[in-house]
Amino acid sequence: MAKVLFSSWNGTIIDERNKDHAARIDLEELHLPDQIGGTDLKVFVGWSGLVVVDPEINVVEILENYFRAVQRESCGRCIPCRVGSKLIADRLARITAGRSNRAEIDSLAWIGRVMKESSLCELGQSSPLPLLHALEYFQDHFTAYLEKERPVAGDYDYRSILTAPCRNGCPAHIDIPSYIRCIKEGFFEESLAIIREKTPLAGVLGRVCVHPCEANCNRQTVDAPLSIRVLKRFVADYADHNGARVLPGAAGAPQAEAARVAVVGSGPAGLTVAYQLARRGYKVTIFEALPVAGGMLAVGIPSYRLPRDILNGEIELVKDLGVEIKLNTRIGTDLTLEQLQREGYQAVFIATGLHKSGRMGVEGEDAGYQGFMPGVEYLRRINLGEPPELGRSVAVIGGGNVAMDCARSSLRLGIKDVYLIYRRSRTEMPANEEEIVAAEEEGVQFVLQSNPTRILAEGGRVTGVECIRMALGEPDSSGRRRPVPVEGSEFILDVDMVVPATGQVADFSFISPESGIELSRRGTIVADPKTMATGAPGIFAGGDAVLGARTVIEAIASANKAAQAIDAYLRTGKAALPPEREMEQFLEQAGVYNPAVLPVLVGGRERQEEESLPVAARLRGFNEAELGFKGPPEALREADRCACCLRLGLAVF
């Protein structure tokens, strides 16, 4: 177990140098991983201080490396960071070369302080911190260089990473500060190209992403987080309006003999893998069971949230890179996995999502009544233009986003009475707050703290649903209070349709036990979380099929990992991670956003909200409900709220 010798991380000084090894605190307590790519961490230097694990290290040498990295990343606009970090780096180099003096060492603190006090962005404001801490607690390391026998350089590996709270909070680590800065400076297409480094689906994410980045945005500590999602939508729409086809440059040198890769499923995970591999020069074919591409983006999420021309435009980008999409081709029936491998696909990526519904365990759900239809099927049929025979009232069961989509779509199809039955209270609904509010505004009637017990039918047709009231009991493992039925409180809701939206499951009938692909007890594919490699050589998997019912951005994140690992696998035969991914993973564990550290911001600048269609107009059909920013002025005003919280970390191992 790695022990901490000294730490000034997150503002707390922990000095264990005079303690016995056993008595020192564990690195784990600081939430820092103790290894990088399989090697033990010696020191971590970063925006929040200095963490020393190895007693042999020399801090000055490490800081010299750190400040050289700061110089590489400094955008060069503000004087304190541009000149200050250069002066510090040069001085540290002179110190380690034995060409410095006391006065120069003393001047470091002064330069560091002015950088910290007055730099333009957090890169300059935060990077002097480890230096200032070192000058205070490791002064002897500096003076050692003034002696005759100065310390000799250690043989360390260094790895640096530039991040930001929002960027670390984004599962795919989209470079948010950079794309916002491009917007600030009016470079909208360049901004979009930055997003498209990670995925072609910028316009999609700009509409439906659940934006975990915003929950990590520093600005919320002073007023409200940046509207990162709508800014993304803005640049995607802007390019669209101008007919600009924006793609980043090619990624890496293509292989001489481009390998062929098969992707099963054309959802966000499949599309992203295909896109990334095509950018690297591979020949990719996507096999899709349905007559349309896009996965849940096409047959799950309703078009009033994601207009299909937006989705299709971004699918076209993927095709333009040479990716072939074979529709109406189900792996398992039309072709088998083994056939794919035999036909010369050197790697396969499985991203088949969750397209079947779980059971509720309610009497009558398996009876095949007309008017009973699981949520994913209901939405799929609406989206494919084959809606089921509709009634005059519907009960949707569940409190998640899928339930909201079913309920709001029902209203748009003209169903008068739309009920939504949920076990717990409104505050516990897992759906996004925006979705819940929109459902309420549009007239969905919530039946809360109730659970269905029986589907009622006459002559094979649904006539209603019997429910029971639920009381909230003790909190369960998720921290939410567990609903318990109140005996004798049964009541009947008269409806002619019941749509359960309480869970999706996968259909892995195409995976044979001999394939070497392992399935978990949750009914998902088991894959290495770092490389997305399955137990079968050359077969990778990602998206909902591995993660369970998650989100578009998490599907994209897993696809990016897989693309890198597949590339490595096809080049070297081994699914390895590139070094920058290792640092990203390090920070995923360490965390970057810290609400306790206030940014150098003065609050009071209003968050710009997107326009939305009035309720009456929304209910007239499947017109897009949210409309993005009114125009460039709003986008610029929003981008201008970004404090550019860049943070540099350096791991020594």
Partner: protein
Amino acid sequence: MSAVKLTIDGMPVEVAPGTTILEAARKLEIDIPTFCHDPELTRNGACRMCVVEVEKARALVASCCTPVAPDMVVHTDSERVRTARQTILRLILANHPLECITCEKTGDCRLQDYCYRYGVSESGFQGETKDLPLDDTNPFFIRDMNKCILCGICVGKCQEINGAGAIDFTRRGFVTNVSPPFGDPIENSSCVFCGMCVDVCPVGALVPKAGVGKGRPWEIEKVKTICPYCGTGCSVYLHVKDGKIIGASPDAESPVNRGHLCAKGRFGWDFVHSEERLTRPLIRRNGVFVEAGWDEALDLVASRLKESIARYGPDAFMGLSSAKTSNEDNYLFQKLVRHLGTNNVDHCARL
């Protein structure tokens, strides 16, 4: 929206929401030093000279790009602020050539002014200096990027106001520079030589070529006039020393051009003192121009005009004057031409 009340250096002030601390301070006539601020441009907050202390904020904030908030308490000249400004100046001086003795900008240089104000005479941080080539291939201005402090105002003016987009920041870190694409001379870029960048450069990185060595700012009298080149009528200050024009700059207050000029108004003054200028009438005799007296020349013109009009009618001639003469002269000129019976009268700025 209602006004925001705040306190700056102990004085209460009320301003509209969205006003910056800098603007609010200027309302109180507090002079906060700035390099990179220009009211016309997108705020970039690069130089950090304008930092002030806002109570409860974690660090100093740049007043030029921080909007006021209700009940904010601001100190613009505290010890902490002065120290930060001093250190920033010293960081600038760490790689700024101290060539003030021969620098064209001496006397009108904000870097000098602020160093004087904050008592900074040298950097104290000797560091690496820049060694960039001088760009003086064009006839209008010299770019010495070793003196540039990277305030970015020239970039902003060129992109946002002129729209030429000839220059931008290049590279990162210490070696950041402002330059035309690929480090080419400005002559080979999309520059239209409006000189806007030259007017706003706070230091001696951009200087007009024509004035080099001709006079110090304090020796110059700035004479306000209207640019004679075209009908727009931009206000311009002629820089006059010993009765000679050695430069020009736009009038920032003029409602017509609000501090902007084109290449002609900004740099096209050499004709005034040109050796080749005609100062006496010339009459062509046997194919060559020969100097003559005014009476002789005017008599000749009058008699020829009379002859022509008598023979061919008044529409056979036209009068062409110059935009560079005064309004009154042009008025009289057209009166004369019309009196002679024709409306054929025009002017040209190039005459």
